[in-house]
């Protein structure tokens, strides 16, 4: 995979506050790359440096082969941005914004098509201030795509959206990737990161503490899965000797078996062999939440 973004030892300080201590990663062409972390971890600062909106204090950055500081304008011709805390004039209409932004780059695609694609045609004559949160996000994504960008930066795109609108937004993000655009997204939502990202960096306190696919992160940092079932059999000590089983614990009828790899199949086979046939046998996968806790020692809300 071709590296489209390279970050080496990025550092950014605001006064006495270190926003980004030392962050390095790369993004491959065509992937959805995510930065996950609590508020204030340095995610936004990182992507703003990548877009040439902030000057890094140290480190080397390359986006599409360009230096975001010295080639900022050229870079912004080739990327799309959806920023936190940005807005359009209250009384600007949807179609006017699309029309205006399409004039920023030569050979931009027809804004009417993009308007249609992102479901904004109905709202074309509404002014910005009258749009709902979800409609604003759709408009911002549409504006970010107006120059046929090779990379799109999405910063907390689903913050402030209701669950239904968030799911729609996820489909939109996948749609961006499916048209061949690399997506770099910043989020503090675990489920969002887990479902959407091809690769994911965990940012905590200005550092990148882990970087892998969501499944890879789970396998590395929260590798143990749990097999759970209920039974009234008194003696289950033989479960300990089943391969892949690490620990068995019991609370009344509820039994929890921690293990690795194909532990579910092993436990199921052993249970059948002994004539124990629970109806609720199931596997509990560890989630990114467990990964985050095990890496940072705190949950993302703290």
């Amino acid at each position: 995979m071709k590296k489209i973004i390279e970050v080496e030892h990025l550092r950014k300080v605001y006064g006495h506050t270190v926003a980004v201590e030392d962050i390095s990663f790369h993004v491959a062409e065509g992937e959805i790359f995510g930065l996950l972390g609590p508020n204030g971890a340095g995610k936004t600062t990182t992507v703003e440096c990548l877009q040439g909106l902030r000057r890094p204090d140290a480190g080397r950055l390359h986006v599409l082969g360009l230096d975001p500081q010295s080639d900022g304008r050229e870079l912004r011709r080739q990327i799309g941005s959806q920023l936190q805390d940005s807005a359009l004039p209250d009384r600007m209409r949807v179609w006017e914004a699309l029309d205006l932004f399409s004039s920023f780059t030569p050979n931009s695609p027809d804004w009417r098509e993009i308007m249609e694609q992102w479901g904004l045609t109905e709202k074309r004559k509404s002014s910005f201030s009258r749009l709902s949160g979800g409609q604003r996000q759709r408009l911002f994504v549409a504006l970010a795509l107006m120059n046929n960008p090779r990379v799109v930066f999405l910063d907390e795109m689903t913050s402030g959206l209701d669950p239904a609108a968030r799911r729609t937004a996820w489909d939109l993000i996948r749609a961006i990737r499916d048209r061949g655009t690399t997506v770099v997204m910043v989020t503090h939502f675990m489920d969002e990161a887990e479902r959407l990202c091809d690769r994911l960096g965990i940012v905590d306190d200005g550092r990148l503490t882990a970087l892998d696919t969501p499944q890879g992160l789970i396998a590395t940092y929260a590798g143990q899965v749990r097999v759970v079932f209920s039974t009234d059999h008194a003696d289950l000590s033989w479960l300990q000797s089943v391969p892949n089983v690490l620990r068995v614990s019991r609370q009344g009828p509820r039994v929890q078996v921690e293990g690795t790899g194909p532990v579910l199949a092993r436990v199921a086979a052993a249970l059948v062999e002994r004539g124990v046939l629970p109806v609720d046998l199931h596997l509990e996968q560890p989630s990114l939440e467990d990964v985050f806790l095990s890496i940072t020692g705190h949950t993302i809300q703290e």
Binding site: R76, L83, R91
Partner: protein, 246 residues
């Protein structure tokens, strides 16, 4: 170029959709015209108003007020609002040039102040028997650099003043002080020397001179023109350097 014109057109539409700014820009100079016209309109005296009829003297000065209200209040508040709301942030992340944002504001100022100026002159001609300018071509020639100079001042204030509140406050104070001391307030003949000298520091003073003199038949005021050109250059360079997106 396409972007500049599109931006200008959208900004004009946004201006029209904002009733408060519209009223302030178009109605305020008219209110001055009626109030001061009522007070001074019948006043006579060879030693006042450079010998002209009062309303002939004041009409070109009020055209200056239209220009100043856009530059001192309209533009700074507009930029501060854009900054506060994150509009500038959004523009910054696009390939848009800063000069395009500035250029659109200059063009918008030109259109709005032309409309405001024409409205004002028409009302004073119909309502107060003000005569047509002595040198109309020079009056128009004076109008353009005046608008551009105040647009540049407005952009500089907009670049420097961080919040809408600051822009409104300082803009209004500047507007009122300039209005009182730059020739659209009391006639210069009745002002103290200190007041007059303070007035000469104000850019509006030179706008008033530049527009008023060809109107009254005194011809082109090169000094005023050069000073306004200097103000434009300094304010533009400072804006480009000091502009804050957020």
């Amino acid at each position: 170029m396409r972007t500049l014109l599109k931006m200008t057109w959208i900004e004009l539409k946004l201006f029209v959709r904002e009733p408060v700014t519209m009223v302030f820009t178009f109605a305020l100079p008219l209110i001055f015209l009626f109030v001061l016209g009522g007070i001074f309109g019948t006043m006579h005296g060879e030693d006042l108003f450079r010998g002209a009829k009062p309303m002939v003297y004041y009409t070109p000065a009020y055209v200056g007020l239209v220009i100043a209200s856009i530059g001192l209040v309209g533009l700074p508040v507009h930029f501060a609002k854009y900054r506060e709301r994150g509009v500038l942030r959004r523009f910054r992340a696009s390939p848009l040039h800063l000069w395009c944002i500035f250029g659109a504001q200059v063009l918008v100022s030109l259109v709005i102040s032309s409309l405001g100026g024409i409205l004002l002159v028409a009302v004073s001609m119909i309502g107060f028997d003000v005569t047509f300018p002595e040198s109309p071509a020079l009056v128009i020639a004076a109008f353009l650099p005046s608008v551009i100079a105040f647009a540049a001042i407005g952009i500089l204030l907009g670049a420097l003043l961080p919040t809408t509140r600051a822009a409104q406050g300082l803009g209004l104070i500047l507007f009122i002080v300039m209005m009182m001391l730059s020739g659209s307030g009391p006639p210069p003949e009745v002002m103290s020397e200190a007041m007059e000298r303070t007035g000469q520091v104000m850019p509006l003073y030179y706008v008033t001179r530049l527009i008023q003199e060809p109107w009254l038949g005194y011809g082109w005021n090169w000094d005023a023109f050069m000073i306004l050109a200097g103000v434009t250059v300094v304010a533009s360079l400072a804006s480009l350097r000091l502009f804050r997106w957020e």
